[in-house]
Amino acid sequence: METIRIPEGAQVKLQVAISSDAVVATNVSLNDIIVKKSAQYKFNMELGVANELDNNGLSIVSSFFVSTGNINQIINATQAIFTVLFNDESHTIAVQKQKMSNTFFIVYAYVELSKS
């Protein structure tokens, strides 16, 4: 399980950048509580201060619906970059893709946050 260690007092941000021919919406959750829902392909958000985020599980799940075109080809061409930013550091989180049906797929990532 990937863990990101954040210096005490640091302000933590999340940057989401998605490129896809499918319609998308993204849920950002901390410890199973959804803190942001967005239908934008690119957005930034404040996650909070390191002290508040200690021992939190950060999950980012982008769900996609393929309205036009072939889903397998669209999955292949879909790019998603989830980056955690604090101070001058940035951590890009490893993401996974999974097809759920003939029109629906997800791209997701999970990481533990801890105060260093």
Partner: protein, 362 residues
């Protein structure tokens, strides 16, 4: 109709299917269309596949491949959106449409065919190569409808919960895949939620362009003489939805009016095996077809002007088994002056490329 349904049932009922028993026909690629191996001459594709492979009934001796370069080039692009893909965007609260967005459906096709031609006075079958290209030059959607549909999809996507951390913490593997599927399919009921968005939204109008060139080997040897056939054509299609607002229906049903203008230089003519001549044709015609659920019923008429005046009058029917496989048949009169009865039945399918689950390397 009964014939098609019986064959459909047979198709699913049998585990092992000897495809060589079917007359295979591609009703899409220009490379085959130039060689007169298509059920319909008036056609615009809807769901372009990255790679489609087509074979005739004589496996290994006749086949065609059609590829869509869009799905293979610039796959690392980081600026794709559905709105750019479909060509409908919103800027400063004003909806805009890119009529050239259909260029991403451009396909290249290659065909190899061994067949006897009615216009060549010989019982021989000739080896023929053909290449073709096709694209949607222009397309116009009801942009408000497309945008509203996308917004409603996005709202439905946002209404979904996220999988709990108990699933997200699981190591990658089959158990996690199953847990995620169970979460979305059983708890979030995605099939039910997205059912209203499964219907096809067609452009009100689109204009397709195609070009194809083919070489026939007169002596069936690579270093022998060849004769050529060249064709280019434009196909316009108007689509009118028949069941607007019918929430009970699982499909959008359309009536489509298509028009075609085609120029052909045809060198595949011979009164004896050593005296080939070239004919020139200008074809103009139209087609009406009805998309009713999985069935498409159509009738086309094309008038041929030029070296020989003729006409083609064909009715056709297609049944879509799913998005990738369809059964198609046509019956009527083809362009030839003699032996002009056209009766063809075939299966059209495409291969899908891509993994259902994969990691992204950023």
């Amino acid at each position: 109709m009964t014939f098609l349904m019986v064959n459909t049932w047979n198709f699913y009922a049998q585990q092992d299917i000897d495809l060589s028993k079917f007359q295979m026909s591609n009703n899409t690629s220009p490379a085959f269309q130039l060689l007169e191996e298509t059920v319909t001459d008036v056609y615009t594709p809807e769901n372009v596949k990255a790679l489609a492979f087509h074979v005739q009934n004589n496996f290994g001796e006749s086949m065609a491949i059609e590829i869509a370069p869009y799905f293979f080039i610039n796959t690392k692009s980081k600026n794709r959106t559905y709105y750019k893909y479909i060509g409908v965007t919103k800027e400063n609260d004003v909806l805009k449409q890119n009529p050239f967005s259909g260029l991403n459906t451009t396909t290249l096709s290659f065909a190899y065919l061994k067949k006897g031609f009615e216009t060549i006075a010989s019982d021989n079958e000739y080896k023929t190569f053909s290449i073709g290209a096709r694209t949607t030059i222009l397309r116009f959607y009801d942009k408000a409808k497309v945008y509203e549909n996308a917004e409603n999809i996005a709202i439905t996507l946002m209404s979904l919960d996220s999988p709990p951390n108990s699933i997200m913490r699981m190591p990658e593997g089959p158990e996690k895949v199953e847990a995620l599927k169970k979460f979305y399919l059983e708890q979030q009921k995605i099939d039910e939620r997205f059912k209203p968005f499964q219907k096809t939204i067609k452009p009100i109008f689109k204009l397709d362009g195609a070009v194809a060139y083919s070489n026939l080997f007169v002596d069936n040897t690579i270093d022998g003489n060849t004769v050529n056939r060249f064709g280019s054509w434009l196909t316009g299609e108007f689509s009118l939805i028949l069941n607007e607002g019918d929430e009970e229906s699982t499909t959008n049903n359309y009536v489509n009016l298509l028009f075609i203008a085609r120029y052909v230089e045809d060198g595949f003519n011979a009164e004896s095996t050593d005296s080939f001549t070239t004919n020139y044709y200008r074809d103009f015609g139209g087609k009406i077809n009805f998309e009713l659920g999985k069935f498409t019923l159509g009738y086309e008429y094309i008038k041929r002007h030029g070296t020989i005046a003729s006409e083609r009058s064909v009715g056709n029917i297609t049944y879509a088994l799913d998005k990738n496989i369809s059964i198609t048949g046509g019956f009527g009169k083809d362009f030839q002056i003699e032996n002009n009865l056209l009766a063809i039945f075939g299966i059209n399918w495409g291969l899908n490329l891509g993994e259902s689950s994969a990691s992204i390397n950023n």
